[in-house]
Amino acid sequence: MSEALRIGLAVIAFALVICATRAFPFLLFTRRDPPSFLRFIETYIPPAVMAILVVYCFKDIRWSEYPCGFRELIALGCVIAVHIWKKNAMLSIFGGTALYMLLLQIW
C-alpha cells in the first residue's frame, strides 16, 4: 500500500471512529438509561488514558544521556503548577510550550 493511500484511509477511519464515539450515546440512550458498564467506562477510562498519553509524549526521551529529560520535566512541572494554580488551560498550554522552546534554545 502506498504511503498516501495509507494516510488517506487512516483519515477516513479516524473520522468514522470520532463520529461513532460522539453519536453513540444519542443513538442508543435517547429513550433508555445507559447500563452500568458504560458508567464504568465514562468514569474510569478518561483519566487513565490521559495519564498514558502524558507518558506517551515522553517515550522517546533518552533518560541516560545528558540532559536526561530535565527540560521536559521542568516544562511539565510548570504546566502542572500553573494549571493547578490558575485553572486556565490556554495559559498552561501556551506558557508551558513557550518555556520548553526557550529551554531547548538556551540549555
Binding site: 494516510i7 484511509l9 487512516a10 483519515v11 477516513i12 477511519a13 479516524f14 473520522a15 471512529v17 470520532i18 463520529c19 464515539t21 460522539r22 453519536a23 453513540f24 450515546p25 444519542f26 440512550f29 435517547t30 445507559p34 458504560l38 464504568f40 467506562i41 465514562e42 468514569t43 474510569y44 477510562i45 478518561p46 483519566p47 487513565a48 488514558v49 490521559m50 495519564a51 498514558i52 498519553l53 502524558v54 507518558v55 506517551y56 509524549c57 515522553f58 517515550k59 522517546d60 521536559e72 516544562a75 511539565l76 504546566v79 502542572i80 494549571h83 493547578i84 488551560a89 490556554m90 498552561s92 498550554i93 501556551f94 508551558g96 510550550t97 520548553y100 522552546m101 529551554l103 531547548l104
Partner: protein, 221 residues
Amino acid sequence: MVLAQSFPVTLPVLFGYIAIGVPFGLMLVKAGYPWWLSPIMSLVMYAGAGQYIAIGLFASKAPFSAMVLTMLMVNIRHIVYGLSLIKQFRIAGAWKPYLIFSLTDETYALLTGVKVPPRIPAGPFYGMIALLNQSYWILGSTLGAIAGQLIPFSFRGVDFALTALFAVLLIDQIRRTKDVVPPIIGFGCAIASVLFAGSSNMLIVALISSMVLLILVRGRS
C-alpha cells in the same frame, strides 16, 4: 442576530484554538506531510487531541487495527459528553447532527456553561457556537501548516503543546472525579509498556493493560 449573540461566548475558544491549532499545523508539516492535509483533517476528523495523536500514528508503522483502536480509546471521553447532553440537544432541531459531529472538549465546555439568550431558538444558538469553534480550529491549523511550510525558523519544541494539553486534561479529569487510582494505573501501565514493549508499541499495550487492570480494581463498584 444569532451570530452577534454567540460570537462573544466563543472568544476564549478563538484564542485557545489558534494557540493549539497552529502547533498542530506546524507539527503535521514538520512531520513531512503537505499543508492541505491540515484543513482536511480539521474538517472531517475534527478533534484536538485526536488529530495530534493521528500525526504520531501516521508516522508509526503500527498495523491499521492498532491505529483505529488507539484513536477509539483517545476519543472515548466523547461518550461521556454525549450522555450528559442528550436532554439538552432534544430541542436543537436541524442543528442536532452537526452539534453531535462537532462535540469537542471546548465546545462541550461552552455548551454546558452557556444560557440561551431570550427570543433566540436554542438550536441555531448552539449550532453557531459549534460552527464558529470549528472555523477557528480550521483557521489555526491551516495557518500553522502554511507557516511551517514557508518559514524556515526552528519550531523545535512546539510539539510540547501536545504534552501540555494532555497534562491539563488529566488535571481537569482528576479535579472532576477526585479519584487518583485510574491515573496511577494508567501511569504505571504506560511506564511498564515503554520498558517492556518498546516505544513503538507502548500506546496500544498500555491502553489494553490499563483497561484490564481497571476492570480488576474497580469493576465491582
